[in-house]
Symmetry: C2
Subunit: 302 residues, 2 copies
């Protein structure tokens, strides 16, 4: 058995994941639970952490790095955003060191901020570590689908810029809390409906969303499509809009878009990119732990 | 006292309004309640109606016209949409006659449908009657703000085309059911924040909404503006986006946009149009009853 050299914690709002790694970043053991930050009672983050890693490191001697929303305002230890451009080296230089009541030392990896040319700010927490784990080089564009999707422009081995879209969050709110809920409850898988939505969303450079949303209701009322397709059309509409919005973000990138995310959502984005004729490839999973290892190594922790 | 000649009912999802009118369309008496269609128990529409108009017309002899969502699938009597172009004359020719169990005769005014040049459908129910009541002539553009705002292109005395936007419905869903809810709960009036939101929403021809939404969260996190301004910024963002989406809808209209709606919302849209330098005027209220009178007259009911 390899010798354990590092513990990595990927702690988000709704999930907790931990990995015990060896000196080459190989994963010896792992834990996962639904104990996301919102599920931690009385801010007992230390208790949740110690129970999760019990048996890995009784002496609390291994270095431990943590990334994700755990460093946000609603997390355990809030850390300031690091401005772009930044990669594993910059993140290693900006670790926040913390010692728990029980004496365990934690190095928190902070998130990144980016100022658009017009001054509007954008932020991420957790995705920077996943990107570091991909070890992409050259000029690339990655998409990280989710509640707040990120489109990330990678230059060299740094994140040069990024752009978030409230796609998943807005999708769920619109599906469940607008007039569309009258027909989205009876959802069925319908790839053609999804593809139609993608094309509508991406039309006009992604503009016109408020009108397009209403027309999904009107189309159902007018019998243009079956009501039970509404949820899939809405999903496509939102993702198509997101892709159109992101398209102008990195026009000089001529390599395939790298999809970084869970299997189901990555597949959905793959279909959407196909509909729009945009080349793409899928990143390996577990990028978060790989990123933590690289950052820990750059910081001399391993 | 004038002689009563017509009863008008404006029955929406969340409100009920009735007017007793004389032979010139003057309003003799009126009733209003929160007994919208969703509040009617056991589909007892007749009971709600009769209680509301009790004392006006014991003999049930007066003609009665009704408009609004009362003719929708979730209303009392569903009527098919009438395609554009249509005005008071066409609506009068498409009345749906109905006699209640108690022997009262009702003429339901139906809604309109419109097919965009790309084939996508749009629908309205109730707004067509308000527009008929305005008796606008010439080439005009009217905005009817609300849950599902309508932008209406009037040509001669007909509605030539229209475009809906899910502005109010989406605003409420996004405010209450996304990450933005963390700061929108503490809402304060802040006209500068609203104006900033309008400008952001209207930028890029209204494109980029999913990114702009997230940046309202990012801006609050980065300290660019106080968190308690988020709701006003979001309201401005949505209305600014709607106006930008509608702008391309009637580029040949060179007269002020006519705002048709309740006082508070009309004022908010007035501010937004001012921010964007678009001339506007406000329509008189009670257009629904005036429209019902015109349509009833065109149908020979008065």
């Amino acid at each position: 058995m390899s010798t354990a050299k590092l513990i990595g914690i990927d702690w988000g709002t709704t999930s907790f994941r931990a990995a015990l790694m060896d000196g080459g970043g190989g994963i010896i053991d792992r834990k996962a639970s639904g104990e996301g930050l919102l599920a931690v009672p009385d801010r007992d983050f230390e208790g949740v952490l110690e129970r999760a890693v019990a048996g890995w490191d009784e002496g609390r001697a291994l270095p431990l790095v943590a990334s994700g929303m755990v460093t946000s305002r609603t997390g355990w230890v809030e850390t300031p955003y690091l401005p772009c451009p930044a990669g594993a080296g910059e993140l290693a230089g900006a670790l926040t060191r913390f010692t728990t009541a029980g004496g365990r030392r934690i190095a928190f990896i902070t998130g990144l901020s980016y100022r658009n040319p017009d001054g509007a700010p954008d932020v991420m927490r957790g995705e920077e570590t996943q990107i570091a784990g991909l070890a992409l080089h050259g000029l690339r564009l990655a998409v990280m689908p989710g509640t707040h999707s990120k489109w990330v422009r990678i230059d060299g081995d740094q994140i040069a810029a990024f752009r978030s879209a409230m796609t998943g969050d807005a999708f769920a709110a619109l599906r469940d809390h607008t007039v569309l809920k009258l027909t989205t409850a009876d959802r069925i898988e319908a790839q053609e409906a999804f593809a139609a939505g993608v094309a509508i969303g991406a039309a006009e450079g992604g503009a016109g969303l408020l009108g397009k949303l209403f027309r999904q209701r009107a189309g159902s009322l007018m019998g243009d499509f079956p009501a039970y397709e509404t949820a899939e059309r809405l999903s496509g509409l939102m993702i198509g809009t997101e892709i159109a919005e992101a398209r102008s973000f990195a026009p000089d990138v001529d390599r395939p878009v790298v999809i970084v995310g869970g299997e189901a959502l990555a597949a959905r984005y793959g279909v959407a990119l196909d509909v729009l004729g945009i080349a793409h490839e899928t990143a390996p999973v577990d990028a978060a732990f790989a990123g933590q290892f690289r950052i820990a190594k750059a910081a001399g922790l391993v």
